[in-house]
Point group: none
Chain length 202, copies 2
Amino acid sequence: MPWRKIKLAFIQNDAARKIAYKQRKRGIMKKVKKLSTLCDVAACAIVYGPYDPNSEVWPSPSEAKSVLEQFRSFTEMGRYNKMVNQEEFLIEKIAKLKEKLNKQVRENQEKEKTKLMFECLLGQKDLNDLSLETLGDLEWFVNSKMEVIQDRIQLLNSSPPVVVVVAATRDEVNSGGGDQVEAMEAVHAGKQPWFLDLNLKL
Amino acid sequence: MPWRKIKLAFIQNDAARKIAYKQRKRGIMKKVKKLSTLCDVAACAIVYGPYDPNSEVWPSPSEAKSVLEQFRSFTEMGRYNKMVNQEEFLIEKIAKLKEKLNKQVRENQEKEKTKLMFECLLGQKDLNDLSLETLGDLEWFVNSKMEVIQDRIQLLNSSPPVVVVVAATRDEVNSGGGDQVEAMEAVHAGKQPWFLDLNLKL
DNA sequence: TATTCTATCTATAAACT
DNA sequence: TAGTTTATAGATAGAAT
């Protein structure tokens, strides 16, 4: 951009981040509008900023909803019978969400540990902050990986960036498709698209 | 834009419109991603093009879904105003749980990516198994870490100040005993600590 | 803090391959 | 039809106000 190119990463400075948010949000809305106008496509944009009290929506909340509605009817998945036994449904919903949340928390703890280890390895975290138990885990983990790492080091020293490998591999994956493709195939197969089952969620 | 500034109106020419659609769609996705990254905001973008068979979604169908749910609850909260107290209570509870869950999920995804990256770097995971989207994330992540790592390399090549920290911390551990003592002795003897090799070579 | 300015970076219409 | 190049319009980070 202007005076300096900024790194594509979270902007630490609060003021700068807020300004960037405001400007870029405006820019995005503008571009969405242009795309819609120039090519006559149905589009909507939603941004939930931690700064403004109400979220930003284009063209408008109602029109954005109508865009979603449009596709609901398009796939003929639209009309749902009125929900009976509302209270029972909600209670059940809560139970399921709680269960899911607990599972997530457990998984989080496990990943937290793994991540912590790597942060230490990268020198991003001070080893003094770690508990005795965590240090034990860290040592074990690293020791167990030493052999693999040494091999890896040799490989990386000879041939350049991993990024290149990634880029090269992307093409192959491209034809195979990811879960996004999978999801779209599901839609085309007549299943309930993820973005249409909103009325099931609350 | 380039050679000629175009009028902000529907592009009559089919070919030109299709090209513009493709390019601008890509540009929008890019900008949404940037906004989300730079300012850490929840955002999603959906474009239903008359040209491509499958609609374009960012960041992923699943994440977009979670953002849309927030949007929906925000805009349609009024619908439940007339509900009786019990139901209202339950609904509010659901909303809070959802929010918490979504946050957990996002955190999880972040950690998943971190872990995945290291697994790839360690050669424990085959890049061919990754989806296109995941590879994109991976590439971004690796790129973002490159700078830090390069700095780290320079630091580690000159002097190993981390060793001091480790040794200091290990003394506490020492009372617990174990083969850690051996490792620490190696450190004190001036050898390169095991976890520094990794940084050096990545 | 918000607005405006400006130098620079990014996006992209058209040409080219 | 799709990818690359080029020249220009648009977006925007930091400074000025």
